[in-house]
């Protein structure tokens, strides 16, 4: 029964159902605030999808991700508020800025491996925060940026209202997931995963490490910048706190809970945690007392996150249930009992 439900969840039909739900959500929501919360969850989810490329697929723990998110937000905010650009050209410019910066940071930082890379990017993230906070001539420093333009609706829709903006973000999110789905199944996605499995093995398979790592990094910063720009267009007021390193760790938490290196993990983790946090809001600061242990339990029992655990579970079920594989299954059992003996 559960298995059948699970099999349905793996079909395109389930994704379609999810999309229908997302489309109907503004009608189902109790109030506008819930729509707003969902829209902001989607914005963060886009950023987490970016993080999933470099950290999930390619295996490089990037701790500057929040910095790129903030730079995307500031690029859009400053161009529209100070330079008088309209939203859409500013969005394109924000993506270009994210890509160029990602490339420059990437070619330097990706020379380092593993925890050295993580520490280096942690510093990069902090420098990005400092730049925003201290370069007052450009960024207004701690005062922040006000009067950021909302997306221009071409006279058809008013994106300063919550629901139209929700649909706009949803459209970007759908594109993001579509792109990630295609990427993860492609030879390029497989190349990233090969690098995660090991630098030396990947090289011996003829994979150019630097080129592919930089590409994954730039992709991740573009999606971080996209999410940041959408965030700026939504809240229309940004400050240096948006570059706080804590946002990076929030995103890593979303990714781990949802399932690192999976297609639906970033969405499940982000939306799930945002709503749990919202529903615990009444506890104010004390919500961490509940939230902390919950995370620990999740990490202990579902180390691969919700999506990862689900996929493993489905695979195990399929191996034992599908009759066509009976012969193979019996062979597996013998082997397992053999292994059990060795362990005993």
């Amino acid at each position: 029964m559960l298995f059948k439900l699970g099999r349905f969840l793996m079909t395109p039909g389930a994704k379609l159902a999810l999309l229908v739900f997302a489309l109907a959500f503004p009608l189902l929501a109790a109030n506008e605030y819930q729509v707003y919360v969902m829209a902001s969850a989607f914005v963060w989810a886009i950023a987490v999808y970016g993080l999933n490329v470099i950290t999930g697929y390619c295996g490089q723990l990037n701790l500057a991700h929040g910095g790129f998110f903030a730079f995307g937000a500031y690029a859009l905010g400053l161009l529209t508020a100070d330079w008088g650009w309209s939203f859409w050209p500013a969005l394109v410019a924000a993506l270009v800025v994210s890509a160029v910066l990602g490339f420059l940071v990437g070619i330097v930082s990706l020379r380092l491996k593993e925890h050295y890379f993580a520490i280096f990017t942690l510093c990069v993230g902090f420098i990005m925060y400092l730049l925003i906070d201290k370069w007052e001539e450009l960024t207004h420093g701690p005062v922040g940026v006000r009067d950021i333009a909302a997306p221009y609706g071409f006279g058809l829709v008013d994106f300063t209202e919550t629901t139209p903006f929700y649909y706009l973000v949803l459209a970007f999110l759908v594109f993001t997931i579509w792109f990630m789905g295609r990427l993860s199944r492609s030879l390029l996605g497989r190349t990233f995963v090969a690098i995660r499995n090991g630098d030396e093995l990947a090289q011996s398979l003829g994979i150019n490490l630097m080129r592919n790592k930089v590409l994954a990094f730039v992709l991740s910063t573009i999606f971080a910048g996209l999410a940041g720009a959408l965030y700026a267009g939504m809240v229309r007021f940004i400050g240096p706190e948006d570059a706080n390193i804590l946002h990076t760790f929030d995103m890593i938490t979303y990714l781990l809970v949802g399932g690192i290196g999976t297609l639906m993990g970033p969405l499940l983790g982000t939306v799930g945690i945002v709503w749990v946090t919202q529903s615990l809001q009444f506890m104010e600061e004390y919500r961490m007392i509940l939230f902390g242990p919950l995370l620990v339990v999740l990490v202990i029992f579902f180390p691969r996150g919700i999506a990862g655990q689900f996929l493993s579970w489905m695979h195990q079920k399929a191996r034992t249930l599908v009759p066509a594989k009976k012969a193979k299954a019996s062979k597996v059992e013998t082997r397992e009992s053999g292994e059990a003996k060795t362990h005993a």
């Binding site: 792109f179 295609r182 990427l183 492609s186 030879l187 390029l188 996605g189 497989r190 190349t191 995963v193 090969a194 995660r196 499995n197 090991g198 030396e200 093995l201 090289q203 011996s204 398979l205 003829g206 994979i207 150019n208 490490l209 590409l215 992709l219 691969r304 990862g308 996929l311 493993s312 695979h315 191996r319 193979k328 597996v332 082997r335």
Partner: protein, 255 residues
């Protein structure tokens, strides 16, 4: 096929590989033996470009590959396996193998975005190649299994298949039969014969003497980074220097 001239690799003041010259012929099984720490794996790393030699030359079919990065060396036809191969545990055997043919494809980000003809063609080619390699090592029946669910011996075969999927001319196998039982060891010996029969050149590092002696066409013996002997199994077995340095009292057991 593969010609190595005066190859030296210094790690600080220590010569891990010291002035080694050797030539491996095409279509033969070449073995490298020697005690632990003799520099065997370093020798492989130098050939495959993971390490840059301090001095000396490496020629592959007459092409100087001495200072080439490893991904280029792989593209020129040097495949290899490692003592341990990290694979994606929660993905199927086939999924892990498809990337093996990546180096013969050219699709990039743009192809992914527009789902180009080229990408589709190359993905099919990579998948077919993976199945072919899987068939070669005799593992088609576990193609759909997760790596986490297959045996140690099957994992080793998957690592072989991954190297084969790169379309190599020569394969460097680092202790292919380590940690498997005698019966399985025999299976790996047969697999290497099959590789050679299919026109590949095999070069392996191994500690299992009985296997080497019956399998190899040529043996090179390394000790403390230096080549102390080279020849057929018969010559090496009877070489007093080798007996002294390496085989010692185990000579009888090896024979």
């Amino acid at each position: 096929m593969l010609k190595v001239e005066h190859l030296t690799k210094m790690f600080g003041g220590l010569a891990a590989v010291n002035d080694v010259s050797v030539e491996f012929e095409a279509g033969k099984i070449n073995a490298i033996i020697g005690p632990n720490g003799a520099g065997k794996s370093t020798f492989f790393n130098l050939i495959s470009g993971l390490h840059q030699p301090t001095s000396g030359r490496i020629l592959l079919d007459g092409v100087d590959v001495t200072h080439m990065p490893s991904d280029k060396v792989a593209r020129l036809g040097v495949g290899r396996t490692f003592q341990t191969t990290n694979l994606f545990e929660q993905a199927s055997v086939l999924d892990n193998l498809i990337v093996g043919h990546r180096l013969r494809t050219r699709s990039g980000l743009w192809d992914v975005l527009i789902n180009s003809q080229r990408l589709q063609r190359e993905e099919k080619a990579a998948r077919d190649k993976a199945m072919e390699a899987l068939d070669f090592v005799g593992l088609t029946h576990v193609a759909g299994e997760f790596i986490a669910d297959i045996t140690q011996e099957e994992r080793k075969r998957v690592a072989f298949a991954l190297a084969l999927a790169t379309d190599p001319k020569i394969v460097l196998l680092d202790e292919p039969a380590a940690g498997v039982n005698p019966e399985e060891t025999q299976g790996f010996a047969e697999l290497m014969r099959k590789m050679v029969d299919n026109g590949l050149t095999v070069c392996l590092i191994e500690h299992k003497m009985d296997m080497i002696m019956s399998l190899a066409d040529k043996i090179m013996v390394l000790d403390h980074g230096e080549k102390i002997a080279e020849g057929t199994p018969e010559e090496v077995r009877n070489n007093p220097v080798v007996i002294e340095a390496y085989l010692g009292g185990e000579d009888d057991a090896a024979a």
